[in-house]
C-alpha cells in the first residue's frame, strides 16, 4: 500500500470529486423533481404527437429552437408571445427533454398557440421563406412527396403562397410531416400554473 499511496489518493480523490458532483447535479435533482406531478391542464401526448416528437428529435430541431421561456424580469420572452416562464411540471411528459440551448429560431414552447394552423406548419416546413421573410430555417422537402398533376383522391395537397407555388405540381405532406405538425400544434403551455407546479424552483 505504501508504495502505491499516490494511486490510492488518485482513485479515492477523483472518485470523491465525481461523487460530490453526481450528488449535487444528478441525484438531488432526481429526488426533488421526481415528486413533481403534471398540471391538470397538461394533456399527455397522443400517439401521433409522440411520433411527431420523434421526427422533431430525428431532424435536430432542438439545435435551433429552445422550449423554455424565461422570466419577464430576465428577458422579453413573454412579450414576444413565447409564453409565461416554464416550470418543471410542464415537462412531466417530456422524454427526452427538449429544453434546447440555442435560439437561432424562436422558442417553440407555445408555438401551437401562436400558429394554430396545420396548413401554416406544413407549408412552413416545406419552404420557411414562403411564410417568414429572411428566415434561415432549412427547408424540409424530404418530408414531402411531389408529383405532377392534380392531387389524387384522398390526398391533401399543401397550399403554398402564390410566388412559391409550383404550377402543375402537387406537394403532399408525408406521414412524418403530418405527425411533426401535430406535435408542434400540441405545444401549448398557456394554462396557469400553481406554485406547487414549480418544483424547487
Amino acid at each position: 500500500m505504501s508504495r502505491h499511496i499516490d494511486e490510492f489518493k488518485l482513485v479515492v480523490g477523483s472518485m470523491a470529486m465525481l461523487g460530490i458532483a453526481v450528488s449535487a447535479l444528478v441525484v438531488v435533482p432526481h429526488m426533488l423533481l421526481s415528486t413533481v406531478r403534471p398540471p391538470a391542464a397538461l394533456k399527455p401526448y397522443t400517439e401521433q404527437q409522440l411520433r411527431g416528437r420523434e421526427v422533431y428529435v430525428a431532424n435536430g430541431c432542438v439545435y435551433c429552437h429552445s422550449q423554455q421561456p424565461r422570466d419577464p424580469a430576465q428577458a422579453p420572452d413573454f412579450s414576444r408571445g413565447w409564453g409565461r416562464p416554464s416550470v418543471a411540471a410542464d415537462y412531466a411528459y417530456d422524454k427526452p427533454h427538449l429544453l434546447g440551448t440555442m435560439r437561432t429560431g424562436p422558442d417553440l414552447f407555445n408555438i401551437g398557440v401562436r400558429q394554430p394552423s396545420v396548413d401554416w406548419h406544413l407549408g412552413h416546413l416545406y419552404q420557411p421563406r414562403a411564410y417568414t421573410e429572411g428566415s434561415t430555417m432549412p427547408a424540409f422537402p424530404f418530408l414531402f412527396n411531389e408529383h405532377p398533376g392534380p392531387p389524387a383522391a384522398g390526398e391533401k395537397a399543401i397550399n403554398l403562397p402564390p410566388q412559391y407555388a409550383k404550377p402543375g405540381v402537387t406537394v403532399v405532406a408525408s406521414k412524418e410531416a403530418e405527425d411533426l405538425a401535430a406535435y408542434l400544434l400540441s405545444l401549448d403551455h398557456s394554462y396557469p400554473v400553481l406554485p406547487a407546479d414549480r418544483g424547487s424552483r
Binding site: S14, Q74, D94, T104, P138, F140, R198, S200
Partner: protein, 550 residues
C-alpha cells in the same frame, strides 16, 4: 426546499474543507521533494537538454542553444536504452489511436463546414434527410469530440504513460481492443444520428448500443495505465499522470451515468444533460490536454515546470470546481435555483485552477519565447495553453447571470465552446502529435513547410471564426433582449458573421487537410531518416551516444 439548500450548503462547506486538507496533505509531503517531482520527466543527465523531434536539424541546434548555450550533455547509455524501450512499447497503440483521430478530424471538419454554410444557405443540400442541418451538426460535434479529440487525447496519453513511469507500456493489447471498440461505437453512433436515430440529448446523441461501446472501449483504453502503474520505476507520479489517470477513470463513469437507461426524465434529464455536457469538457478533455501541456512544454525547453505544488493544487481544484459547473447552461430555465447558484459559484471558483495553470505554464516559458520560432510543438502548445486561460476566464464570466442573459441561446456560446475545444485542446493535440510521431515511427516529418502551413491556416482560420462569431453572437443576444425589435432582427444581424465563420472554418478545414496529408505521407513513407539512429528515436542524443541506440 430549505432542507435541500441547507443540506447542500453543509456538504459544500464540508467538501471544500476536505479538499483543502487533502491538498495540504499532499503538498506537505511534497514540500521537500517538489523539485524532485518536477524533474521526473528528465533522466539524470538530461536536464537543460531540449527534446523536439518535430523541428528540423538546424532548428534543433538553435533550440538547444536557446535552452542552454554550449553542447548538450549526453544521456547515459542505460537511460537512453530504457527511453527507447519505453517509446517502442507505446508506439503501436499511439499510432492506431492517432491515425483514427486524424481521420475523424477530417470527416468532422467537413461536417462542421457543411453545418456552418447551411446556417446562411438554408436551401442548400436540403433534399436528403441525412444532410439536414439538425443531423449534420450533431454528426460534426460527435465526430470531433468522440472521434478526433478523444482518440487524440488517449493516443497521446498512452504514449506519455511509459515515459512518465520510466517503464514499458504494459497491456498494449487492451489499448488496441479499446480503440477498435471505441471506433466501432463512434461509427455506429454517427451513422445513427445521420439516419435519424439520435437520442435528442446534446453531447449524448449516440443511442444506447453505440454509447455502451464507448463506455467499454474507454474503460479498455484505460487498462494499460493501471497495469503500467504497477510496474512503475519512478517514485513520484508526475502531475500529468494525475490528470491522465483521473480522466481515464472519470470518462467511463460519466458516460455510463449519463446514458443509464430509464433513469432520467423531464427537467431532471436537462440538469443531467448539462452536468454531463460540461463534465466531459472539465473531466475528460481538459485533464488530457493539460497533461500533455505539462509534459511537452518543459520537455521541449529542457526546464522543469515553474511550480510543482501549484500544478497539484491546480489539479485538485479543477476536479472539485469544474465537476459542478454544468448548471450554468440552464440559467433562466425551469430548474431549481440553488442548483444554478451552485454552478455559478463553482464557475467563478474555476479561476483558481486556471490561475494555477496559467501562472505555471507562463512562468515556465518565460524567458524562452524565442524557442517558439524553432519548435513547432511549442508553437502549437503554448498558443493552446494561452487559449485555455482565455477560454476559462471567458467561461467564468459567461456564467454570471448578467452576461449569460445576453449570451445564452446565441452563437456566442458556440464561439466559446470552440475556443476551449479547438483553441486550447486541438492546438495542444496538434503540437503533441508533431512531437510524438517522429518517435512513434522513427522517421522525421517530411516537410517543415507543411507544419508551418498547417499552423498559419488554422491560426488565421480560427481567429476569423472566433472573433466574427463572438461579435455576431453578442449582437444576436442584444437584439433578442430588446423587446422593441422583432425576433427576425436577431437572425438578420448574425448573417455576415455566420458567413465569416464559414470562411474561417474553411481555412481551418484546409489546414486539417494539410495536416492529415502530411501525417499519412509520413506514416506511409518508406524512407527512413538519413541519420540511421533516428529510427530508434533520438537524433541528438543518439549522435552523442550512438552505440546505445543502435
Amino acid at each position: 426546499m430549505d432542507m435541500s439548500v441547507s443540506l447542500l450548503l453543509a456538504s459544500f462547506i464540508l467538501s471544500l474543507g476536505g479538499l483543502f486538507i487533502f491538498i495540504a496533505s499532499m503538498t506537505r509531503g511534497l514540500f521537500g521533494t517538489a523539485e524532485e517531482g518536477s524533474r521526473v520527466i528528465f533522466s539524470p543527465d538530461e536536464e537543460n537538454v531540449s527534446e523536439e523531434p518535430a523541428a528540423t536539424r538546424a532548428d534543433q541546434a538553435l533550440l538547444q542553444n536557446e535552452v542552454r548555450s554550449g553542447a548538450a550533455t549526453a544521456m547515459n547509455a542505460s537511460d537512453l536504452a530504457a527511453r527507447v524501450a519505453a517509446d517502442q512499447s507505446s508506439a503501436g497503440p499511439a499510432l492506431v489511436c492517432l491515425s483514427f483521430a486524424v481521420l475523424w478530424l477530417v470527416l468532422g471538419s467537413f461536417a462542421g463546414l457543411i453545418s456552418s454554410l447551411k446556417l446562411h444557405l438554408p436551401d442548400w443540400l436540403v433534399s436528403e434527410a441525412w444532410l439536414t442541418f439538425g443531423r449534420i451538426r450533431p454528426a460534426h460535434l460527435n465526430a470531433v469530440i468522440y472521434g478526433w479529440s478523444s482518440l487524440a487525447g488517449v493516443g497521446i496519453a498512452l504514449w506519455m504513460i511509459p515515459r512518465l513511469l520510466k517503464t514499458e507500456l504494459v497491456g498494449a493489447r487492451y489499448a488496441y481492443a479499446g480503440a477498435i471498440v471505441w471506433n466501432v461505437g463512434v461509427v455506429g453512433g454517427i451513422a445513427s444520428i445521420l439516419l435519424g436515430y439520435s437520442t435528442g440529448l446534446e453531447w449524448l446523441e449516440f443511442p444506447l448500443p453505440a454509447a455502451a461501446l464507448l463506455v467499454i472501449g474507454g474503460a479498455f483504453m484505460g487498462v494499460p495505465l493501471i497495469l503500467t502503474l504497477q510496474n512503475r520505476k519512478v517514485k513520484h507520479l508526475y502531475v500529468s499522470v494525475w490528470y491522465m489517470g483521473a480522466a481515464l477513470l472519470w470518462f467511463p463513469l460519466l458516460y455510463a451515468v449519463a446514458n443509464a437507461p430509464g433513469v432520467h426524465f423531464g427537467v431532471e434529464q436537462a440538469t443531467m444533460n448539462w452536468w454531463y455536457g460540461h463534465n466531459v469538457l472539465g473531466l475528460w478533455f481538459t485533464p488530457l490536454g493539460l497533461a500533455a501541456a505539462y509534459y511537452f512544454i518543459p520537455k521541449v525547453l529542457g526546464t522543469p515546470i515553474y511550480s510543482y505544488n501549484l500544478s497539484l493544487l491546480g489539479f485538485w481544484t479543477l476536479a472539485f470546481f469544474y465537476s459542478q459547473v454544468g448548471g450554468h447552461h440552464l440559467i433562466g430555465g425551469p430548474v431549481p435555483t440553488w442548483l444554478i447558484t451552485l454552478s455559478i459559484v463553482q464557475s467563478m471558483m474555476m479561476v483558481v485552477p486556471v490561475f494555477a495553470v496559467a501562472v505555471n505554464q507562463h512562468m515556465t516559458v518565460l524567458g524562452h519565447f524565442s524557442a517558439l520560432r524553432y519548435s513547432p510543438t511549442l508553437r502549437f502548445i503554448v498558443l493552446g495553453a494561452m487559449m485555455y486561460t482565455l477560454a476559462s476566464v471567458q467561461g467564468s464570466l459567461e456564467a454570471l447571470r448578467t452576461v449569460n442573459t445576453v449570451t445564452h441561446f446565441t452563437h456566442f456560446t458556440i464561439a466559446h465552446a470552440h475556443l476551449g475545444l479547438y483553441g486550447f485542446f486541438a492546438m495542444v493535440m496538434f503540437g503533441s502529435i508533431y512531437f510524438v510521431m517522429p518517435r512513434v515511427l522513427g522517421r522525421e516529418w517530411p516537410h517543415a513547410a507543411l507544419i508551418s502551413a498547417h499552423f498559419w491556416l488554422v491560426v488565421a482560420g480560427f481567429t476569423i471564426y472566433f472573433i466574427g462569431l463572438s461579435i455576431g453572437g453578442w449582437l444576436q443576444g442584444m437584439a433578442m433582449l430588446d423587446a422593441k425589435q422583432p425576433f427576425m432582427n436577431s437572425v438578420a444581424v448574425t448573417l455576415p458573421y455566420l458567413q465569416s465563420r464559414s470562411l474561417g472554418g474553411a481555412l481551418m478545414t484546409l489546414g486539417h487537410l494539410v495536416f492529415a496529408a502530411h501525417f499519412f505521407l509520413m506514416a506511409f513513407s518508406r524512407k527512413t531518416s538519413e541519420a540511421g539512429p533516428t529510427r530508434f528515436g533520438f537524433p541528438k542524443l543518439a549522435r552523442v551516444n550512438p552505440g546505445a541506440a543502435a
